[in-house]
């Protein structure tokens, strides 16, 4: 058990990086996803088409590749353009995760928005509500309830996806556990890391179950 007492603080440090990736990705990808969803429903093709392309690339290529592309791509691009700019490792991860998850959230939100009956818009229109009032006071609150279960899926996947950050040597939980695996010559540290992920997601599931119950005050 003395192994565990040295192992835990090390893994805890990695878990904090994992949590940071998780929290920042949600912070940026949810509002961005809402924006993308609205743009995808635009009546103008010139807006709709590029947005559809963005979503298809984000969903159609590995997140691993996207992280690499953002990190190294920004470096080569800036070199080519002759400007002194490139992402550090951590911000590159946040950007890659945020634009990737925004695409998934966008499709969930779009589904939610489009599932609201037309009659809700018509009732709001007859009552003289503006388009903004209709969206924020009538549509969005109903969308939130409808997208919670699907969003919970994404959020839980995100916790595990954070392990992809190691591809550009960000030392999150899984990367550290692998290092310890070599040091201990045992897969034991990997199992401990697994427990970290599992407990985090168990807590998240409970939070989402609670939120769903709270939103169940109407049908």
């Amino acid at each position: 058990m003395s192994e565990l007492s040295t192992l835990l603080p090390i893994l805890w440090g990695g878990f904090c990086t994992t949590l940071a990736i998780f929290a920042l990705t949600l912070l940026f990808s949810i509002p961005l996803g809402l924006l993308v969803a609205v743009l995808k429903m635009s009546r103008y093709r010139i807006i709709r088409y590029p947005v559809s392309f963005y979503i298809s690339v984000m969903r159609g290529t590995p997140l691993l590749l996207q992280i690499v592309a953002i990190y190294f791509g920004s470096y080569y691009l800036s070199e080519y353009a002759g400007v002194d700019f490139s992402f550090d490792r951590f911000p590159a991860v946040i950007v890659a995760f945020s634009i990737n998850y925004a695409a998934y959230f966008a499709e969930i939100f779009r589904g939610g928005i489009q599932s609201i009956p037309k009659g809700q818009y018509e009732a709001a229109y007859m009552l003289g509500l503006t388009r903004a009032q209709t969206f924020y006071r009538i549509i969005l609150p109903q969308v939130v309830k409808r997208v919670v279960p699907a969003s919970a899926n994404e959020v839980i996947t995100l916790v595990k996806d954070t392990s992809l950050a190691q591809v550009i040597a960000v030392t999150e939980l899984f990367a550290l556990a692998k290092k310890q695996q070599a040091a201990y010559a045992s897969i034991y540290p990997l199992f401990v890391a697994g427990v970290f992920y599992y407990v985090a997601n168990l807590l998240l599931s409970m939070v989402f179950a609670y939120v769903e119950r709270k939103l169940n005050y109407y049908k």
Binding site: P117, G119, Q120, E122, A123, Y125, M126, L127, G128, L129, Q133, R137, I138, P141, Q142, K145, Y217, Y218, K219
Partner: protein, 275 residues
């Protein structure tokens, strides 16, 4: 429930003033692609009067209502609500209709309320919030005043104590009464009903019709699209029979239901009396 009391109708006729009509529709035309849904609709309604619109499914009744409430646009014709023109007069001669500025249209919209067939209440808001949202956010009424008005309207609808309920906790008849109250909360000059009882069980239909009758007695100006023939006859000062996008017959309930010799109308009424 007895709707055959003609007392209210007689009173209304007697007290009618000779001012210009509150709703005027002239030669309204509307098509969906090649389908001419409304061919040439004209009608007039004075303040305090009730107009029933009857006719078979697909005759254009609901589309007419949706044009008058701006949920659909029309291609030709004139609509005047409380002295305000919905389209710029004379603009549709060339075939290219020009609607009035957005500000005017909005004023017209706020002076017309609509009660939907399937209620369209806001499910995430309580009954009282459904009633106060627009007065507070659109008209700028003080919150307490709006709530006071809301409670009074609920009482009038026989829904005391339901303020804090959510629409899903109410029966269909109660929901429809809430939606009537919601429309009334903006104090509309004209209230339109689009088949207000078609989504209701027969036993719930009565309670909604009773409320509409009460409103008629209070001299609310109303246009009601309905399949309830006895109700259409009893509540209205005027009845309009539509078929295939035209007004086939219009007049007093007595004329439309008892005196008219029109073949399409009598065939329609015949079908109804059999069911």
């Amino acid at each position: 429930m007895d709707f055959a009391t003609d007392q209210s109708v007689i009173n209304k006729d007697a007290s009618q003033n000779a001012a210009s009509p509150i709703l005027e529709v002239k030669h309204l035309k509307k098509s969906f692609g090649d389908l001419h849904v409304l061919k040439d609709i004209s009608l007039e309604l004075n303040a305090g009067e009730v107009l029933s619109i009857i006719g078979p499914s697909g005759s254009g009744k609901s589309t007419l209502l949706r044009c008058l409430t701006q949920l659909e646009t029309f291609e030709a014709g004139e609509v005047r609500v409380d002295g305000k023109d919905m389209v710029i007069p004379g603009s549709c001669n060339g075939g290219n209709i020009k609607y009035a500025p957005a500000k005017i249209l909005r004023e017209i919209r706020l002076s017309t309320g609509l009660v939907f067939q399937n209620f369209n209440l806001f499910p995430h808001l309580t009954v009282l919030q459904n009633l106060t949202l627009a007065p507070i956010r659109v008209l700028g009424v003080a919150r307490e005043d709006a709530r006071e008005t809301g409670r009074r309207l609920l009482k009038q609808m026989g829904l005391e104590g339901k303020e804090k309920s959510y629409p899903c906790e109410l029966s269909g008849g109660q929901q429809q009464r809430v939606s009537i109250a919601r429309a009334l909360a903006l104090k509309p000059k004209i209230l339109f009903f689009d088949e207000p009882t078609s989504a209701l069980d027969p036993e719930l239909t009565g309670e909604v019709l009773k409320i509409i009758k009460q409103l008629a007695e209070d001299r609310m100006t109303m246009v009601i699209v309905t399949h309830e023939m006895a109700f259409a006859r009893d509540v209205a000062n005027k009845v309009l029979f539509m078929d295939q996008g035209i007004v086939v017959e219009q007049g007093t309930p007595e004329f439309v239901f008892n005196q008219s010799q029109n073949k399409r109308l009598s065939a329609f009424l015949e079908r109804f009396s059999r069911t």
